[in-house]
Symmetry: C2
Subunit: 191 residues, 2 copies
């Protein structure tokens, strides 16, 4: 079964497909632009994008939005993690935390599926904390500074891809999507 | 002459009206939600919002988008200045600049007018630098840490409202709009 994935991020496409292959689902890059609105809510951003992409494509598709929420920074960088990574990077987050005792953070991911009669959201969360310095070479974005709970103090970048998928926000959200597709026994084909 | 202003920010409404009153224009809050997309370009954000609001309202309106662009932070916080102010505030920007020699920054504002046959953009820029610490009590947002070029070392928050309007990004953009409306002799009334 093939479904479109409205994303320009090849890292996300690879991570999502490694999970969904277990459910017999293959995501293909959607031939449409993803419209992202500004909002404090990942779910609102992803739903708007999914509805707009579905209006334009007319085929079943998924959209994903994710972000890193740092507790002592009032959730910053949150929904704007990609822009913040591009401008001030991991170093910026570390500097902002220099005087903070609380380094708790979480990664969140919302996957929205849009089909003919459905608009469904699947949420994944990974709790953890911000490392003192970047470590590891895997993953992308803020992965080198995110220490995942239950991973023996390792950052996302220090995990093997399969280990990261097992515990990551994106892994959890896409597994929930895969399970729902399996349960509902739907069949989608690219138009 | 009355025109809608699609904004939820009463500070912006007051600043814009203090300028446009010289041109016989009064902005009224638009009874519609402003849709802001994520983009690195203020103009793209403002044009999308203006087109969407015009489709929904059917009356002439203006939309404004502005941001603080800090040179040594690769333009951060840029189009997301409002969210960044809300989460890490002026203190966050100051901390990010602690190890930087270059404190150059600019405020940019794009005003977009949408009418029956027109979609026009008006851009205003204020060059300056980031202060060592917040000063003054006027204005809003990052005004206390923005030292405007040609203002004798004072921050936007240390200027009187009329002084700020004379040199600010928002003042320049709305004056350009006012001059265009005057030149074109258009007459708009609220439907």
């Amino acid at each position: 079964m093939e479904i479109y994935f409205a994303t320009g991020n090849l890292h996300k496409l690879a991570e999502a497909n490694s999970i969904l292959s277990e459910f017999g689902v293959l995501l293909k890059p959607a031939p449409s632009q993803k419209i992202e609105i500004q909002s404090d809510s990942l779910e609102e951003i992803a739903r708007y994008a999914a509805e707009a992409a579905y209006r334009s494509l007319g085929s079943p598709l998924v959209v994903e939005d994710s972000g890193l929420f740092v507790e002592s920074l009032n959730g910053f960088p949150g929904p704007y993690s990609s822009y913040v990574y591009k401008t001030i990077g991991c170093g910026g987050i570390l500097r902002l935390l220099e005087d903070k005792c609380n380094r708790a953070a979480r990664f969140e991911c919302v996957v929205v599926y849009a089909g003919g009669d459905s608009l469904r959201s699947f949420v994944g969360v990974a709790n953890g904390s911000i490392a003192e310095s970047p470590r590891g070479s895997g993953g992308f974005g803020f992965d080198p500074i995110f220490v995942c709970e239950g991973c023996g103090g390792r950052t996302f970048s220090e995990l093997r891809p399969s280990e990261k998928s097992a515990v990551s926000h994106r892994g959890r959200a896409f597994r929930a999507l895969g399970e729902w597709i399996s349960r509902s026994g739907r069949e989608h084909t690219l138009k």
